[in-house]
Symmetry: C2
Subunit: 422 residues, 2 copies
């Protein structure tokens, strides 16, 4: 039975879901710290926050992947946030939020966490308490957040967590339009209204500040708005491109120390200012060319063959040929160049190079994405590449102990869905 | 019995030896084609030409590594060179030499070569016939050329061949001073007099033109003058540095197509002018910094610890620590950066990366040298690195099927020696 939702009213008999994508950096990592452009895109793997009415005047937070399952009476939460002088259940609070006020909750949250909590769970719980009390006030709710994104792999899992939570809470309190229910079993996801995305994004950024201290704002912007975002000298520009790119994402399973990697690049830039400056400039040019390619109406959108979609390269990929369009050839070259430059500035890793070599044997170029030193590797997949070929590459990568999955890059941002509870 | 040699007179009772070093490109390969700087240095592996009086009015050419052992009556040689209109047994001939005149000897030379001749032997024989007849005229001689340099590995073996031959022939006809014999078994090598090196170099360049068509002149200049040479936009600058660098040179054993590699880089530069331009600029900056480091009076000259020779880095290299001076740390970073950039422009190879990864596991940075796509890889060895550590690295590399040898880079150029025949 279809039912239109009223705006602005609490939806106590509703289950609200909000999902937010991860992000990948297509190009410009590290150099961006030195003032050049970076390009990030939404990664079609989602973190989903489910908000439903609570029971017994309590608030339940269930984060299965972080080993967190907490239940607080609302009175306890009121005490916590009063101690923190933070209770202000209005979105307008965003403007007055002060970064320094939340860390004092650390001890409380740590004490709440059980044995099964994963490292970093305290920050996730603190961010939840902030977003929940600020947006919903003290309503009894049960919140569960699950994710397809690996944590700490540079894929923006914390931003997706904050965006999904913010959108879910805002939709639950009636600030965001929800889709009409179609009565079918299948969920209907709708994009968050453009005007409201900005609100989601601002809340999510506050959550990110609790988790990261001084986030760049790229991750939550990409997760909120989706598609592709360019970032340069603190300026975030959304690119009006909806070309999804097909990628293979491989997790090296090697943990990394982002701060140390960034510091290492900085020290090298001090020792070799001219050469490193030229390398940053080269990375900048690559990022700009990636933007140009992504903004060019093209054959990259997949699907039916269009006018101008010329196959310019046919290469062997194992037993199967790889058909590449001119744009794919250009993007692949840029990927190879970017990876070489990242190796040159010292942020690659044996595991990353090993993945690049395996995919190169299939004529597919790869680059690290994010901080490097481990983390994830992106491989551009031509749209015409058969799934059999992709399977072969995956088998090879998995045989070396890497985990990989195909994903669409540059798709939608945050979306919401709902279900009336009987 | 010591004996001073007279200048300018044929030395019929003498055996003359001339040896010329190979070369390595320290930095700037490929980018140099696009107008930036390259730095090349003498490689302490030699090609030696031995000239002794001939027998039976004939000329013998023995190139054991190329499978060449030819003997011609002088009358036949006269016919050949008369057909080629080339007989002009004076060094002044260099100025009037025309590149186009020698290829017509190809058919004759090919017909002379036996079954055992290695590919490229025809060019070596043609270059010999040119240098021999131009410098010595028609004297009966027996010439043997042997080399420590692998052929076709980008180590300047053809230039060393031409330089050794030119110097040997010029010394044999009295144009170059020879050392006094000391009567001992051990050969006394002396550097060719500075003024005469230029003559050797010009002749060698003509030989290189026969072998390569349009050589850059870097290889013969480095082999003739030794030490380090900077090359930019056709301008060759000798660097007055005599700092030998300690290197491990590893042959990937993978053959490569230099022309195709250079063309590939050129095409990529056309497709991505801004990004590739910035990469070439980065390579240029690296080459300039290498020059600056090499010209700075420093601790890199090995031997005794000097004032200012501070060990700034102590890293593990297998079971042994690696002590690196500040200059060595800087040079190693430049090597890593340069290799990344070369990978980025698409001229690396799986075998090259494999070598880089093996040496990196010992905290030693490597880069391809020359055209890439196979060929040789340079690894900078800190002067304080123990020979035991070097052995460990070599064992690892050789276990993967690579051949490697330690060599001094940036040492002397062409040298001569002689022996009175009884």
């Amino acid at each position: 039975m279809a039912m239109a939702m009223a705006m602005g009213a609490p939806r106590e008999q509703l289950r609200v879901d909000a999902r937010a994508p991860g992000k990948v950096i297509l190009s410009g990592e590290h150099a961006v710290v030195h003032g050049t452009s970076a390009v990030a895109a939404a990664l079609g793997l989602y973190t989903t926050a489910t908000i439903r009415p609570g029971v017994d005047d309590g608030c339940v937070l269930d984060l299965p992947q972080l080993g967190v399952n907490l239940k607080w009476p609302l009175k306890v939460i009121e005490e916590i946030v009063t101690q923190g002088h933070l209770l202000d259940p209005k979105p307008a609070h965003v403007a007055s939020y002060a970064e320094s006020e939340w860390p004092q909750l650390g001890a409380f949250v740590e004490q709440q966490l059980g044995l099964h909590a994963v490292k970093g769970a305290d920050a996730a719980v603190t961010a939840f308490l902030f977003l929940y009390t600020s947006i919903l006030g003290l309503q009894p709710v049960t919140v569960r957040v699950t994710s397809e994104l690996p944590v700490g792999a540079g894929l923006g899992s914390s931003a997706a967590y904050c965006v999904a939570l913010s959108a879910g809470l805002l939709a639950y309190c009636g600030e965001i339009d929800l889709p009409q229910e179609n009565g079918a079993d299948r969920k209907t996801w709708i994009d968050v209204n453009e005007k409201k995305i900005d609100l989601v994004n601002r809340w999510a950024f506050e959550g990110e500040r609790i988790i990261h201290g001084r986030p760049s704002g790229i991750d939550n912007t990409v997760s909120s708005f989706g598609y592709v975002v360019k970032f340069k000298q603190g300026q975030i520009t959304r690119l009006h491109t909806q070309l999804p790119l097909r990628m293979l994402l491989t997790n090296t399973q090697v943990g990394r120390n982002t701060k140390a990697l960034v510091a290492g690049v900085g020290e090298r830039a001090l020792r070799h200012p001219a050469a490193m400056g030229a390398i940053f400039k080269a990375i900048d040019e690559i990022a700009e060319e990636v933007v140009t390619i992504l903004l060019t109406p093209s054959e990259n959108s997949g699907g039916e063959k269009k006018k101008g979609e010329e196959i310019v390269s046919t290469e062997e990929c194992g037993p199967h040929p790889v058909f590449k369009t001119e744009q794919e050839v250009r993007l692949q070259e840029l990927v190879e160049m970017n990876q070489g430059l990242l190796q040159g500035i010292g942020v690659s890793h044996l595991s990353i190079e090993s993945i690049c070599q395996i995919t190169a044997s299939y004529r597919l170029q790869s680059k690290l994405t994010g901080a490097g030193g481990g983390g994830c590797v992106l491989t551009l997949l031509p749209h015409k590449l058969s799934s059999t070929s992709v399977e072969l590459v995956k088998v090879d990568l998995e045989a070396k102990g890497f985990s990989c999955f195909e994903a669409v890059i540059g798709g939608n941002g945050v979306q919401v869905s709902c279900q009336t509870l009987s």
